[in-house]
């Protein structure tokens, strides 16, 4: 049963610390998306990749967030330095270009104190 995996599932950190979230897309998928979910804003698209190349990261605060795909099996989202307003659930999703459908991971719940 192919699934998107995300680690860690929960992360509690203090303001100013670096946070790294990891995502393993479904094998063979060539698009990866990062979302942030909060009560106030709902689901926001932060960034997305096609064939490991970043296509759009306009949804991310550029000064503190960065997203990369070191290889086809790993996508990372980093926040440095973290702030309390970054507290949210971060979802990774993957898909096949041309099919539109996205498969979501279970999310990383981030709490910044």
């Amino acid at each position: 049963d192919a699934r998107v995996t995300q680690t860690p599932r929960d992360k509690v950190t203090e303001m100013g610390q670096e946070v790294t979230m990891r995502c393993q897309p479904i094998l063979g998928h060539n698009t990866v998306f990062w979302y942030r979910q909060t009560m106030m804003q709902g689901l926001e698209l932060l960034a997305y990749f096609r064939n490991r190349a970043p296509l759009d990261d306009s949804g991310m605060p550029k000064d503190r967030f960065s997203a990369e795909m070191p290889d086809a099996t790993l996508a990372t989202l980093k926040i440095q330095p973290s702030e309390p307003r970054d507290s949210a659930v971060y979802f990774c999703a993957s898909g096949l270009f041309g099919y539109n459908e996205q498969f979501f991971g279970p999310g990383t719940r981030l709490t910044v104190l």
């Binding site: 998107v4 998306f33 709902g42 689901l43 096609r50 296509l55 898909g95 270009f97 459908e101 996205q102």
Partner: protein
């Protein structure tokens, strides 16, 4: 720009009753439309999708949705809900972004089931 509106933030229905969740979209071309469900503490799971063809699409867990171009709607229905259907439901439209196909989500509708 693409957008999705889910007019109902929260809906409560009794177990066994019928359900309809509303979704209206704005998109200049033929849309790709999706319904996802999110159970507490979980990621989003695809219920059903519309790309083309028959405007009534069947999904998992007994759900169906009807695409009405004239009304720009894609409402989700279920004839008889079960307690396990309590969750958050998201409608989304697929939009061609910069070289990829991204989804624009509505704000979600939270479904509560009364026993």
């Amino acid at each position: 720009a693409q957008s999705v509106t889910q007019p109902d933030i929260h809906i409560t229905v009794s177990e066994g009753a019928s359900l309809e969740l509303r979704c209206n979209y704005s998109y200049g071309a033929t849309p790709y439309l999706f319904w996802y469900v999110q159970s507490p503490g979980q990621g989003l799971q695809l219920l059903l999708k519309y790309f083309s063809g028959d405007t009534l699409v069947q999904g998992i867990k007994g759900f169906e949705a009807e695409f009405k171009r004239s009304q720009s709607s894609f409402n989700l229905r279920k004839p008889s809900v079960h307690w396990s259907d309590a969750a958050e439901y998201f409608c989304a439209v697929g939009a061609l972004g910069q070289g990829a196909q991204k989804l624009v989500f509505g704000q979600g509708t939270r479904l509560t089931i009364n026993p």
